[in-house]
Each structure stands twice: as C-alpha cells, then as structure tokens.
C-alpha cells in the first residue's frame, strides 16, 4: 500500500504501476518514481545502516547528495553496487537491497558499535590497528569484512557499454533554469550545443517549485523551452547524464544512463566553451541525532511532495536558518500534513514566505533551535531551545514537540565541483555564507544557483548572461533572447548556523553528524584538532570527513566550519578542499566501454596462423601477437612436445614461424653514419650481403634491444628487432633522426607485416632448400654463416639469411606475406623425408638457452650492460655510439655487477623455477643478501639435464661455486655456476 502517496499531483504516471522488491518484500510504485520516492510512498523509512556505527538510516535527500540510501540494485551479474536510491529510476521488477546490516537492516548485530561509539572516534582505525604491524593483515581482513558497502558482481558484466567522442561549441552542464537559458541562447545562435542533465527530465529545481514564469507554471515554461532546444539540428540534449569530470583543455566526461541495448554510455566531450549550471546542494543542520530516519532536507521534502506526490510525514517540524525551508513547510501544509512548528534560528524570521506561512496558520518559532531528536528507527519528536545566537556554551532544551518528520535547511552550497575540477579555485562569499566559483581558468562560465544566484529571476538572468558570454568568446552572433518574467520574493538573509548548540558540551552530547556516510561527527573533528591536526586535508583523512562515495556533498562545509571554529579561524582561512572526478560514482563497465573481451586489445596473427591452428598448436601471447607455443601430438604435454621438437631440430630439421620479428628497412646516403651511432659494432666495415648480430643501448649504456641486421647495399640495411620491441625501436630511431641528427638523410620503413619469416634449422636445412630448387648456391663458400642472398625457392622470390638462433645450421626465409602460407606448406611437404618438425616459442627458447643466447627483456631487465652479458667483443672502440660513454661510468665498471652465468642444479634433475633468487648462505641472517636471480630455466632434452641462465653478482669469478636458488613455495635448490654456453661451445654446427 502506497500509504504516503497523495491523491493527486506529481509528475508520475499513475496509469503505469510498477512492482519492485526491497530487502525481500514486494512494493508498488509508479512510472516516474525514483526508488527513493517509491520507498517513501510505501512508508519505508529505515533504508540502511551506517558505515561505521551501524546506526539506522533513512532517506535524507532527493538527488546526488544522498549519503544514506546507497543500495545494491539488481541481482547476479547485472547487479549494481552502491547506487543512490534517489537517482535510480523505478522499473518493473527492480530488486534492491540494503548494503549494510547483518543479519538484516532492522536487527543489526553491528549496531553494538553505536553503543560503544565513544571507542570509534576519529582515527579509530589508525589508533587501534597499527600495532603490532605483523597483525595488520588480519586487521585489514576484519575491517574490510565489516566495512565496505555493497557487493561487486562475481560474474562478468553481460551488459554493453560504449564510449562516444564528441565536440561542441558550448557544453551546458545542468538543465535547470540557468542551464536552459544558456542552452537556449546558444541553440538560437546556431552553435553546436550539448546540454546534459543528470535528471530524468529537464527543469532541475523547477520540478519541485510552484513558481510562475511568464505568467504560467514553471514546468510549462520548461517544457516549451526544452522542446525548442531539442528542435535545433546541432543540439544534443542528454538526460540521465551526469557531467562527472572536467579535465584540461575543456575536456569533459559525461555518463549517460541509457534506455536501450547499451546500458551506459560515456561521452568524452571537447568543448570550446562550457557553461556550468549544476545548481546548488542544500546543507543539513548539525544537531544531536540529526541522522535519524525522518530527518530530511527541506528541498527533498518539497521534491517528494510536488514531483512525486509522496508525503514523507504526517506531522512535521521544520528547522531552518534561512527562508528556503518555509517553502517546504507550505508544501507540507498544502499536502495535508500538520506543521507542528517552523523553528527558525533567526530572531528576525523569514520574508515573504514567512508571511505566507503565518497566513496559512503555521506556527513559527523565531529565535529557536532544534537541539535533539528522539526516536531510533524513526523520528518521534524533537527537543527545542530558545537561542540568542551564541555559538559557545550550552542551551536549555525545555520544549518537546512530537513529530514524525524533521525538515531541515542549513542553506545552500553551490555545486562548485566541476569548477574546482577544471583547476580553478572557489571563493568564500561572506554575504551568502558559501563557496562560489572563483575566477575561471578554463573557457567556462558558471551560472545560476551554482554561481550563488538564489532567486529564480536571478537564475534565469544569469543563465542568459553566461550563455551570451560563452557565445561571444566562441565567436557567435548574439542571439535574440529575452529573459522571461519571474517573481522575486523579499527574502531575509540566511544567518550561519554551522553547528547547533546542544544541552551538553559539544564533545559529550549525542552525536551531531557532519558526514552521514562516514559517521563523522562534530566531536570527531574537534578531537582531531585537540590531537594536533590543523590542515583541512589532514583532518579529512583522519576523520574520513568527505571521504564517502558522496564526497561529502551534504555536510562538508559544515565540517570545515566546525574545524574553523575549533581552530579559531575563519572558513576561508581553513580553505576549501579540492574536488576530484568523478562528481558521482561511475561504474567500471562504462569506464571500460567497448574495451572488453576480444575488443580489449588488437590481436596480431602471422600469415601462417591458419596452418598453426589446424595443426593443433598451443598459442601464447607475445605482445599483441598470438604465437605458436608448441605443437603437441596427441597425448603430449608441453614438456613432451618440447623435448620432441628440440631433439628433432638438433637431429634433423625443425621449422619455426618467426614472422613476428620486428623488421625495419633503412635506406639513404647517411644510413651507415646513422647506424654506426645506433649499434655498438662497426657497421661501416660490413660488406654488402653480410649480416651481423647487433645490439642497441640506451644512453645509460643498458641493453635496449638486439637482433640480426644485414647490409643489403651501400646505402641500404635491413634490421630485425625483438618481437616486443619492434615499435619502440622504430620510434627510437626516428626520434634520433628527427631531434638530434636532422642533417642525416635516412629513411626508415617498418616492414614487419609485409614480410613473413620462416626459419628452418637443423643439419638437414640446407638439403631442404636445395630440394626446392633454391636459385643460389647454398654451399659454405658462396653462402657462409651470417650472409644474405636474394633467391627463388620453389619459384617464389625470397630473401634468404644464413643466421641461427638455435646454434644449428639454419636459414631464415623472408617472403612476401602473401606467399608465406603456400611457402610454409611447400617446405613442410618437401621436408617430410627429413621428418621436418614445426616448433614453437618454447622450443626456440630452449635451443637458444642451450647456446647461451640471451633474450632481451627476459635475461636482461634494463639494468644490464653488454659487458655484463660478456659481449665486449661487440663494442667498437673506434667510434661513438649511443650509450658508449655510460659504459665507462664507475658504476658500469664495478666488478661485482650482476653478470650472465649458466646454472646447473646439482642433482641434475631439478628444473630451477625462473625468477628464483640466488643466495650464498642459507644460514645468513635476514635480510639475506641477494646474489642475483634465475632468468631462464628449462629441461634440455638434448643434454639430458636441466639448464638455467641467471644474473649473479661477480658471477664470472664464482665459476664452479655452489649457490642456492630459492623461489616462493620451493625448497632451496643447490646450483653450480657454470659457463652460459651449454651446447656446442665452438659453434661448429652453425658453421657446418
């Protein structure tokens, strides 16, 4: 039964009843309701438990400021944690749960925390759980278990999200009166406009007002204007859309909660001009037990009555320090509620609205304050004291009034969040008692209530002004636009009341909450000051003030004022805190957008990929490449397949798809000069048709990349890079050519994708190529190790390199990628008589490790010089090259640097885990000195025992010493330091 639903009025559709569930019980609301308004309509006042003290909490607000009604929406993979019930549109079948309270929100075991709440004061977690530090992990589990808000879904999100990039001349944030005027001006001038509002419909605060604009109800005016704005071709109107981030160069982000196949959309907007018209957020009043269910903001009470036709209480006390709350009293009155009293802290009372209240027979108590609330799960009454305006000391709360609703207003704070995010400061306005936007630092204008304009007439005027300013700055003609007529009431100014004096000392009285979501009270802030905190940023972190998902939208300013009072400073002296994106929480789904699953990252496949797949290859990811890892025969695991592949290659013939190698074509009259500076070896001395193993160093002397490079002509070279380093190396070469040596005429072209590379390795590799009528003589004389020839193979033009990464007689065939698959098939067919065996990256790694060849990025980590790798022979003494100077830095000359060594487990059977730390002495006291680590480790089928490579401090002088390899979860393994070359140390096989 919607017992609190009014018979008529509201912007709900009574012809569309909607069923929903909350904490397991069924309820009914209407289309147009929010979850919050529907719950209130059903008289559900206890919505949640508070974060730390588990106090019962109800709905306090009606929008983004709501700190209590943070609910779990939906079930299973679709569930949304931590949604504000005030901003969840009611839908048929909606399921919602309280996020805190065990076993249930009505009977909550954790509520015992409230009884002992004095123990849970400011900095409680810091003080209680810091020592002993060894127990921190345990504490952390306990804290996270009892705290936390809702539950994240455990399954992948099945819904779709998307990102849209957009540009506009003028972005208007907020479609209240000011935003509508600005957007109207911009639209009439022909500007490209985006108007975004977080509500389900335009209008903002007008949706809860009975104001008259141009002689008709404000909501009519809104409808007319919104319709006109939507009619312009270059205008995009986004409802249910929160502008949540304002970044450099007028880049703003918007989340749109859509009603289609896309669940949410993130707009990334680059705007030439921005108009910020997000309105203002009402402040609470800080009296004892101000968090009890039934204590609500005046703006929310008006909104529930007028917009949703819900009467949130039958007998209300209205407590205020300004005129705005009188409107709520009048709304309550005309909706049939009894107003027990308007308690106005000002002795002057209110202006025009005060007269209207009196005319309606509502009792007004100027010069009074509400000091305390009775009732636990629902307000039952208030205590009231007369007040002379003194903020110090205690008051005599002699008046008791029974009520089921306390409507409060502490004034309004402009929503300066986006202005602050844009990099600008906010300024304290003493006459308005709030922070207003300071000078803009980006191309933006603030307008309306968000700019400290309270009356409707001022808002409309300020919106039109901001729109015109933005248009002028964007170079548009002034539009034909008149500010519509609206009333402006005589208002008595707000009198600041940041903390309501109580009948007890402020440190002893029942809790006066500043931050409802984090249970931060006045006493907590005062305690922080007594403990020496002075800076607002420190106090925030110590007391958690403003650290909830609402970022303290409600009571932040009150908290700063309480801090200022305790410090004996003014509010502007205490300063404002910095607002950071997002304005309201943003779901992970919409952050990721389309970048999930297969669209997360592009996949690169070689031209031979199809064959690998149909041959049952297991794949591994190398960067974006999917490379064959090994080719298991039926029943084989990784180890068995790799052992077979290794043996077959060394015995007869293996074939590897090496197409992922980075390939760069280098041409130009200065190619030699350039490459001399890049590589450590003497490039100029290379003859045409010869190859060299080359390494590139960073300027710090550390190995950056390696690969075979070949001289194809006087002014032409072909470079290969590691698979993962291809893009970075090209960028590196380009950067030197462009920034340091622009005088060199050199042209770089990436040909990684254009050419595929097939490596054939093993004693029968030459026979295989010969069999395919290779057009060049493959003998040692004509085609020695480390040389290159253009050739034809089975009639296909190829570039043939005699290079070896396995230590075997081997060739690499570069072929136009369009011919790669047929050529691979041809090689496989012709190789059948040699038992040709395709192998993947794992066998490639084993074969190269047996030869002691390093893999940059696996055996090196950016702190390894070529000297550490025993590659002195590659370092030219006759020229300068990048990184050379660093190799003579004292640190690079240390003899105790980590050096590349081989490692053999002493039992000759244990494969040492890669990444294992190497230590010398098992009984050494902690911290145990680390000698180095194991970088590569495999079972070598060819040698019949495991082998490993590692980096060991002063390793070369430790030959034959025994060290211990120790990895997490393993027993230490005794390992002997040996030469890193395990196989064919005299290189007889590759030169065969």
């Amino acid at each position: 039964m919607q017992v609190n639903r009014l018979d008529k009025g509201g912007r709900i559709d009574r012809s569309k009843p909607l069923k929903f569930r909350f904490n397991g019980k069924s309820y009914e609301g209407y289309a147009g309701d929010t979850l919050a308004s529907a719950l209130l309509a059903n008289n559900v006042s206890l919505i949640n438990r508070s974060f730390k003290l588990h106090r019962p909490r109800g709905i306090i607000g009606s929008g983004a400021e709501e700190p209590n009604a943070i609910l779990q929406i939906g079930k299973g993979a679709h569930t949304l944690p931590n949604r504000r019930a005030t901003q969840v549109a009611l839908q048929e079948g909606l399921v919602a749960r309280s996020t805190k309270g065990w076993p249930g929100v009505r009977f909550d075991i954790g509520a015992i925390n409230d009884v002992f709440s004095r123990l849970f004061s400011a900095g409680f977690y810091y003080k209680t759980f810091m020592f002993p530090q060894s127990l921190w992990n345990l504490y952390e589990d306990l804290i996270r278990g009892s705290a936390g808000f809702a539950k994240a879904p455990k399954k992948p999100d099945p819904d779709r999200y998307e990102h849209i990039n957009a540009h506009c001349d003028i972005l208007v944030a907020g479609a209240g009166p000011a935003g509508l005027m600005a957007a109207l001006a911009a639209a009439r001038s022909g500007a490209r406009v985006i108007l975004a509002d977080e509500g389900t419909e335009a209008g903002g605060a007008l949706l809860r007002s009975d104001e008259i604009i141009d002689g008709r109800p404000a909501t009519n005016w809104v409808e007319t204007i919104a319709t006109e704005i939507r009619g312009y071709e270059d205008v995009t109107v986004l409802k249910n859309s929160t502008v949540f981030g304002y970044f450099a160069q007028n880049f703003l982000t918007i989340t749109e909660r859509t009603e289609g196949p896309i669940r949410q959309r993130e707009w990334r907007v680059r705007a030439r001009q921005v108009v910020l018209a997000q309105g203002a957020i009402e402040r609470p009043l800080i009296f004892c037990n101000n968090d009890r269910p039934g204590v609500m903001l005046a703006s929310a009470v008006s909104e529930y009555i007028r917009r949703y036709a819900v009467l949130p209480g039958k007998r209300a006390v209205v407590f205020t320090n300004n005129d705005a709350a009188y409107q709520a009293a009048l709304d309550l009155h005309s909706a049939g509620a009894t107003i027990a009293a308007i308690v106005d802290s000002r002795r002057t009372g209110a202006g025009d609205l005060g007269e209207q209240a009196k005319a309606a027979g509502i009792p007004v108590m100027p010069g009074h304050i509400v000091t305390n609330v009775s009732g636990r799960k629902r307000v039952t009454g208030v205590k009231i004291a007369t007040w002379d305006g003194a903020t110090e000391g205690m008051v005599d709360e002699s008046i008791d009034i029974a009520c089921d609703l306390v409507t409060m207003s502490g004034g309004y704070s402009p929503a300066v969040h986006l202005h602050s995010q844009s990099g600008a400061k906010n300024a304290w306005d003493d006459s308005l008692s709030c922070f207003v936007p300071g000078e803009a630092v980006q191309a933006c204008e603030s307008a309306g209530a968000g700019n400290g304009r309270w009356s409707l007439r001022d808002c409309l005027e300020d919106g039109a002004r901001a729109g015109k300013v933005a248009l002028a700055k964007a170079g548009f003609d002034m539009p034909d636009i008149a500010v519509p007529a609206a009333s402006s009431q005589a208002v008595k100014p707000l009198e600041p009341l940041w903390r309501v004096p109580a009948a007890q000392d402020p440190d002893r009285c029942p809790k006066q909450f500043l931050d409802f979501q984090n249970d931060t009270s006045v006493a907590d802030v005062r305690l922080a000051v007594r403990e020496g905190y002075r800076n607002i940023e420190h106090v925030k972190r110590y007391t958690a003030l403003g650290f909830g998902t609402d970022q303290g939208k409600l009571g932040n300013i009150n908290g700063m004022a309480v801090l200022a009072e305790a410090l004996g400073m003014s509010i502007p002296e205490v300063g404002t805190t910095t607002f950071r994106p997002p304005y309201t929480p943003v779901s992970f789904g919409v952050c990721a957008g389309e970048s999930v699953g297969e669209l997360y990252d592009p996949v690169r496949k070689t031209a031979v990929h199809e064959w690998h797949e149909s041959s049952g290859a297991e794949f591994e990811n190398v960067g974006q490449w999917h490379r064959p890892w090994y080719f298991p025969l039926p029943g084989e695991d990784l180890d068995a397949a790799v052992a077979r592949e290794c043996l077959a290659t060394r015995k007869s013939l293996g074939i590897l798809d090496a197409s992922t190698l980075g390939k760069i074509d280098v041409q130009g009259p200065d190619a030699v000069t350039f490459l001399e500076r890049i590589y450590t070896h003497n490039v100029g001395k290379m003859q045409n048709g010869r190859c060299a193993y080359g390494i590139m160093l960073g300027e710090d002397g550390m190995v950056m990349d390696d690969g075979v490079m070949a001289r194809l002509g006087d002014n032409r070279f072909y470079l290969t890079t590691t698979t993962g380093g291809a893009a970075a190396v090209l960028g590196w070469l380009e950067s030197w050519l462009q920034t340091e040596w622009p005088e060199l005429e050199v042209y770089l072209t990436s040909i990684t994708d254009q050419y595929s590379t097939i490596a054939v390795a093993g004693p029968n590799s030459r026979r295989l190529l010969h069999k395919l009528s290779c057009s060049v003589d493959l003998g040692n004389e004509n085609f020695p190790f480390m040389s290159v020839h253009d050739a034809e193979l089975a009639g296909i033009p190829v570039q043939l390199f005699r290079v070896s990464f396995s230590g075997e007689l081997a060739f690499e065939v570069n072929v136009d990628s369009n011919h790669a698959l047929p050529l691979w098939q041809t090689l496989m067919d012709a190789g059948e008589e040699f038992d040709i065996t395709p192998y993947g990256t794992e066998t490639m790694h084993v074969l190269r490790a047996e030869k002691g060849f390093v893999i940059v990025g696996q055996d090196t980590d950016g702190s390894v010089t070529p000297i550490d790798l025993n590659m002195n022979w590659m370092l030219s003494k006759e020229k300068d090259y990048l990184g050379k100077r660093s190799l003579s830095r004292p640190d690079c000359l240390r003899t105790d640097r980590k050096q590349l060594v081989g490692l053999l487990s002493e039992d000759n059977t244990t494969v040492i885990p890669e990444g294992a730390q190497l230590i010398e002495d098992l009984s050494a006291p902690e911290p145990v000195p680390m000698l180095g680590h194991v970088s590569s480790s495999y079972m070598s089928a060819c040698l019949g025992h495991p082998i490993a490579l590692g980096l060991v401090a002063g390793g070369w002088n430790r030959k034959d010493e025994v060290v211990y390899a120790w990895a997490a979860g393993c027993e230490p393994i005794r390992a002997r330091i040996v030469s890193p070359v395990f196989y064919d140390p005299r290189n007889e096989r590759q030169n065969d």
């Binding site: 450099a248 680059r270 990099g423 300027e699 920034t739 340091e740 622009p742 300068d880 004292p890």
Partner: protein
C-alpha cells in the same frame, strides 16, 4: 586528456601522441671528453619545473613527427607547440 597541437596536423587528442620527456637537451658532441659528472648531468638531471616546461612530444599515431610543446605543469595549460631546430617545417 590534453588537446595538443601538432605543428603539421593541427589539434588532436592526447591519445594520438607519446611523450618524450624534457625538451631542449642537446646530446654532447663529444661524450668522451665529458667528466662522469658532466655526462651524468646530461643523462639524468632534468629541471622538473613548477610552471612552464619545455617538452618533446611525438605524433605517434599520426605523422610521427617530434615537436616541442610548452606546457605548464601546474595548470596543464599548453601555451605553444613548435617545430624543433630551425623552426622551419620541411
């Protein structure tokens, strides 16, 4: 996300660019003649200013040109983009 002006392509979103560190650092012509301290100064020391910062940016997803940018490290305001060296577009 910054809006960066490539001197060749115009204003583009930051995602098209890669950052190359502080600009205006010239590689010593003869590194051999430098003391360890001088070399280390070239190699490691950066001004890291609070305020105007000369930076190198590369239009990596566009024309792949390197160019200079003057950016305020406090406000993120980009005051200019410029062609390196003689300032002439080739």
């Amino acid at each position: 996300m910054f809006l960066i002006e490539c001197p060749w392509c115009g204003e583009r979103a930051e995602t098209e660019f890669s950052y190359g560190g502080e600009g205006g650092i010239t590689r010593p012509a003869e590194p051999d003649k430098l003391s360890d301290a001088e070399w280390a100064n070239y190699l490691f020391m950066r001004t890291n200013p609070r305020g105007a910062h000369q930076e190198l940016w590369n239009h990596a997803q566009g024309c792949r040109r390197w160019f200079g940018v003057e950016r305020d490290t406090v406000t993120y305001h980009i005051s200019r983009s410029y062609v390196l060296g003689d300032g002439v577009k080739d």
